[in-house]
């Protein structure tokens, strides 16, 4: 069996530990980057849309179970985020979106979709300005996540890691 099917599972545990322990220290007004989303987008571009969709669903479900979120909320949002990120995966486009700063734009787009869907199950308040809510709950976390995703682009070993896998 190909090793690529186990990599997301192996990556999940260190990433979620960092998400729940270290990331709160770099929060800005409770806005935190979503490292799991960055991983989902990475796998989605690297291995294709179906792989990304299933990885998103698995990551979301596991995160819901261990974080106390509504079970199914992150699963749904990350599934769709992984699916959307998969549109940027193909033999010709893969390198372009994985190894350049375009990756951060894909993360931003997927993050926006992820946050909007996740927030939909949390904040429905008719007294809140819709545009302001969209800005606070979706735009800010997406921007922060995409900024952090720059680390994935500049990590020097990624080419070797991925090329060995393929």
């Amino acid at each position: 069996m190909k090793l690529k099917y186990f990599i997301p599972l192996i990556i999940f545990f260190p990433v979620v530990i960092i998400q729940l322990t270290l990331v709160p220290f770099i929060s800005i007004q409770e806005v935190v980057p979503d490292l799991l989303l960055i991983a989902v987008v990475y796998f989605s571009i690297a291995y294709g849309q179906i792989f990304g969709t299933i990885t998103g669903a698995s990551y979301g479900l596991l995160f819901d179970l261990i974080s106390g979120n509504l079970v199914g909320s992150s699963m749904l949002s990350k599934t769709i985020a992984g699916f959307v990120a998969g549109y940027f995966s193909s033999e010709t486009k893969r390198d372009q979106y994985l190894y350049t700063y375009s990756f951060t734009i894909v993360v931003f787009l997927s993050g926006l979709i992820d946050a909007v869907i996740f927030s939909f199950f949390s904040v429905i308040d008719f007294n809140t300005n819709f545009l302001m809510a969209l800005f606070n709950h979706a735009l800010l976390p997406s921007i922060y996540t995409s900024i952090i995703s720059i680390l994935v682009v500049i990590v020097p070993y990624k080419r070797t890691f991925l090329s060995e896998e393929r």
Binding site: L20, I54, A57, G68, N69, L70, G72, S119, H137
Partner: protein, 277 residues
């Protein structure tokens, strides 16, 4: 026929998989209170919290020094207050004895440490290192020395998840300490607010907000925060009162769980009263 199905599958398999997963997610969303789901969740976060607690302890060593200084200062202040309270306690006991009132202020507390935090703008939760083995049950209030932190949501044997004040699913009855006016407080994703407060209610900026005895969850008034802003609702009939919490969820490390759960007796009594009307 088979070729047609094969063609459709190959052409649209991404969409089929997406639809199936979305349907599973939506089904799970409707099953959150299912005991089986609760069991799986308790097992999952209980196992994982054991790992995160180790990492969290390592990270917190650097913060302990600063926290110790703060705690020493708080300790000194509390010692002075305790001295005053002892004096007042003696007088109080005498007065209560005269009124034949039973002293009900001794609450059982269990100390716990935050081992992980799930931060989001809407569903803030914390995981603490105290669970069923210490007698923790869902519904118990979680406090710090500053005030209310949240309410226990789920428990495993050694860990529990608590919904914090900054969680849209947590709604609590609070009152203005000054004039005893009650209201429902919730997190709207941006601020802690008391909703649907009639404009005739006398709320001022700086008023202390505490939990209300009308709530069956909180046995005694627990400090929550102070009024920071008063806004008029869109209808013009009600006010929205913004509350600045005493305890900042982002920085809370050590908490206490009040070992009292929601009063079934009180709930049943009130329900019976309403049914008979």
């Amino acid at each position: 026929m088979f070729r047609l199905l094969s063609y459709v599958w190959n052409r649209f398999k991404e969409y089929f998989i997406l639809i199936v997963i979305v349907l599973i997610s939506l089904t799970l969303l409707t099953q959150n209170n299912n005991p089986q789901i609760q069991k799986v969740r308790a097992f999952a976060f209980g196992s994982f919290a054991a790992v995160t607690s180790v990492f969290y302890d390592m990270l917190n060593i650097t913060q302990l020094k600063n926290e110790n200084n703060v705690l020493r200062k708080v300790n000194a202040e509390l010692m002075l207050k305790l001295s005053q309270l002892r004096e007042q306690g003696i007088i109080n006991r005498e007065l209560k004895g005269m009124l034949a009132l039973k002293d009900t202020t001794s609450l059982p507390l269990t100390a716990a440490t935050v081992v992980s935090k799930s931060l989001s703008l809407t569903q803030n939760t914390i995981t603490i290192d105290a669970g069923k083995t210490k007698g923790i049950k869902p519904g118990m209030p979680v406090i710090s020395y500053k005030g209310l932190v949240g309410i226990i949501q789920t428990c495993s044997d050694n860990f529990s998840i608590a919904r914090t004040l900054k969680n849209v699913d947590l709604k609590i009855t609070v009152k203005n300490e000054k004039n005893r006016l009650n209201g429902i407080m919730k997190w709207n994703g941006e601020n802690l607010v008391i909703i649907d407060v009639p404009r005739t209610y006398d709320f001022d900026i700086g008023d202390r907000i505490v939990t209300s005895e009308e709530s069956s969850i909180f046995p005694v008034p627990i400090p929550v925060g102070v009024v920071s802003k008063i806004e008029e609702e869109r209808t013009g009939l009600m006010n929205i009162i913004q509350v600045e919490p005493f305890e900042e969820v982002l920085t809370v490390e050590h908490v206490f769980v009040i070992m009292l759960v929601e009063s079934d007796e009180k709930n049943n009594l009130e329900l019976n009263f309403y049914r008979k009307r």
